[in-house]
């Protein structure tokens, strides 16, 4: 249903990397289809695999349509390469630091890893200096800790490394 922005849609140009991404989605759909069919095959209409197979068929068809459409679209001119438009340095940095944060949370515990994450990311993104970054981090973390741990009694990851 193209009611929302028919005009934009008519002259839509593809963004950098879009064709590759759509292709990847199509390959992903192929994989999902394979796994969906290997759940129970076409044994019966009420088999565990019925709805996954149905969903997989929809995935395949829709990703194929999108792939063809994207291939036909003119390449965008207004923006630069994939790296500058889609994954600029700030995005890569933040994705990396978030992933690092998640991966150390079990070893160093919630408090230490969150403090490190907040401090480094606020330092880089907010650009207001070392002292302010650390103060803001401590404050925010204290509030989150009190709300989750003390008031709502959520168990947060505890450091396993010093135990």
């Amino acid at each position: 249903m193209n009611t929302t922005r028919p005009l934009e849609n008519a002259k839509r140009q593809s963004k950098p990397g879009e064709l590759v991404f759509t292709g990847l989605l199509f390959i992903g759909s192929l994989a999902i289809t394979y796994f969906a069919f290997s759940i129970s095959g076409l044994s019966s209409t009420s088999a565990p695999g019925s709805i996954p197979m149905l969903a997989a068929v929809f995935l395949l068809i829709s990703s194929l349509i999108t792939l063809v459409k994207t291939a036909k679209q003119p390449k965008g001119t207004e923006v630069g390469s994939f790296v500058t438009a889609i994954t600029p340095r700030v995005v890569l940095f933040f994705a990396f630091i978030t992933l690092a944060y998640i991966s150390i949370i079990n070893q160093f515990g919630f408090l230490a890893s969150s403090l490190a994450f907040l401090f480094f990311s606020i330092l880089v993104l907010y650009r207001q200096g070392f002292l302010l970054s650390i103060l803001i981090s401590i404050n925010v973390l204290a509030i989150i800790y009190v709300v989750f741990r003390v008031i709502f009694k959520v168990i947060l990851p505890e450091a396993s490394i010093w135990q």
Partner: protein
Amino acid sequence: MKNDPMSKASQIFWLMGTVISISAALFVHFTADAPTKGYPARNIQGIIMWGAGGATDTMSRAVTPYVEPLLKKEVILINRSGGAGAISTKYVHNKKSDGYTLLYGAENPQLHGVLGLSDIDYREFYAVNVLARGISVIVSHPDRPWRNLKDLMEDVKARPSEIKMGSTGPGGLPYVVGAMLGSQGEFEVTPVPFDGDGPAITALLGGHVDFLPSGFTATAEHIRSGRLIALAVVNDEEIALLPGVPPITQDYPAFSKFLPWGPFYGVFVNKDTPEAVKRRLTDAFYTGASDPKFQKFVDDFGAIPMNVSGEEADKFLDKWQSVTTWLLHDAGATKSAPEQFGIPRP
């Protein structure tokens, strides 16, 4: 606050103030929750293997408040359902055996091996307390013609696979009771699986299935109000809460070899937990579960209190596992044979 034209100095001042007040708050918190000597030195985590609002959940949350004052620490309960309890079981099994992670579970892990879900069952755990076991009843809708189990069984024989039985999936209570009925002669019904007792009862109330083997708890009030009728109690004698409903052994005496059978609820820790910790927990749960108020809750809940631990509990658990797995195996409902897991035939 951060957008106002504030000088950096005042921002820092403000932030420092907050830090001090929050540190004070944290100090108060930590002194209140400070570690103490001996077990338990800190709060304990309780993992419930079924979701919020289920029978296991209710049983766990009912007993815990009686135990906490005895342990002098909090037991923080978390629901971790999934994999019919296999996820919680493995989670607790992988935790340190220090008594700080308890498993609140039902009967399911005893079947995980033969159903191909997981290799871990209660033989890997120490039973701190098996709190209670439930009784099952076979219920039907009053609009259906059957008034006792015999009526139903004969109708099933006359119309194979036309009668719909509410079920809760492989290894669930209806499934096992169905297999028991199947061992008594021809019993071909269409089992319609639901997500649990509740949804299955709702479907029975609406007439979307014809009968349902179910836990007594969930159906008790519906039977009392006449919205459902009980065809038989899966027990070897009549129970006080269901006067006039015949025990299943009345028409099918051979059933007694399976009995007593029903779902059960218990608290477990890893087998290699230090003895002192086991004893502390066992004592606390024994005293807690002996509280008359909890015993009354168990009665109201339509379950039979057990309050056993250690070897006595193991005997019960082993028998349950042996009866049920072999029954399912003989009915052709298992993925691997019970002897592969060293479960003896009853």
